[in-house]
Amino acid sequence: MSEAVTIKYSRIAKDGFWENNVVMSQMLALCPLLAVTSTATNGLGMGLATMVVMIISALVISLIRDLITSEVRIPVFVLIIAAIVTIVDLSMNAWLHELHKILGLFIPLIVTNCAILGRAESFASRNPVRYSVFDGFMMGVGFIFVLVTVGAVREILGSGTLFANASLLLGNAFSFLEMTLIPEYGGFLLMILPPGGFLALGFLLAGKRLIDRKLATTDKKDINIIDEPSSEQATA
């Protein structure tokens, strides 16, 4: 790998995970975020499903990017994403049925997750396949990171457990993840209900700002403006 390519990859990785994170910077995908993150396991499941859709849609859209004209690009992207989501939904219903019972309601909503359309529009349709797929992967990782963090905070404060039912999602080998952190905990309902999602998200966003400011003061070199157009304008 030449140096330029390595730089490009590390740029994509940084953007996806932190600097241009789907939730923390682009402020997209908040609806599924708030809806499913009552436990860390649900967050992880939703994150994985979204990541799979993001990678496949980045691959397909990047492959056909030279065929698509700007006039019809949006309907074409929506068609492709909707088809992929439906197939993921069917596959999960057939082969990951227990998880589908928990997340089933939210899977079709991935179609309306503007983060996927946003990445298709602002990245996959302008970049070669290998970068696009990696971008889809890293954006997915960043999304999973936020979902699991918010889910974990809400689950610990709300029900005193962490990764409850993880073995349903990942198989029995991962049952060690299931922890009861606060035994005999009465539960804190607010955190499980939607307001808890807003609270946890608010603190997470504030935390990111704080860390960014710390980084900026300690290491001036880290302040560089993101060199691609931000996708906030792409999809409202």
């Binding site: 700007s70 074409v76 088809a83 596959s91 219903n93 057939a94 082969w95 049925h97 499980i192």
Partner: protein, 221 residues
Amino acid sequence: MGTVSTPSYRNRVGYHAGLLWAMAAICSAALVMGYKATYLDIKQRMREDMQASLQQVIPSQLYDNDILANKIEIPVDSKVMAGKSVIQVYRASKENKITALAYQLTGNGYAGPIEIMLGVDINGKVLGTRVISHTETPGLGDKIEIKRDNWIEAFTGLTLGKPLVSKWKVKKDGGQFDQFTGATITPRAVVRAVKRGLEFFQQHKTELFTINPIKEAEGNE
């Protein structure tokens, strides 16, 4: 998107229409393949789910048949049965004699429908009740789930008459069933639905034991 030298035909309406058409065709083909590859598995999973909920409301010593295969449908007044116009009844039998029935009821909960599976024996006595799905408030209304609370077991062994019909209410309404702290609508909905289920049994007693089971048509989905 064609930023490097765009061929002129790309600007024609026909190209856009053709592109959209082709994309729609490809996506439809992909969906058909995805559906074909999964529908048998999905059907199997649904059967397993139904089987599991039936086993919870009918004790296993009461039957030796395939309950899922012995299904009948009874038309009902949808106004009385919370929007259902047909009740699907699964019949358990032992040595070719019907021993128990199980059917699904809907209650109007606080946040949406509550789906309940009810098992009754041939005299209309409740063998078991389970909530299959609901959207009640976590922490308040979800005590109707067996994994959170054994409240739902209170119905087991009861009939319409023992207790009296007038006692088929939550305590707040003068009945005999407990409500939850902070949630009355949810248990009230469940009690009503179970009561309706037992009334349904009495009204259709003869049909329930005489109608021939529906032959399950294969691959008609």
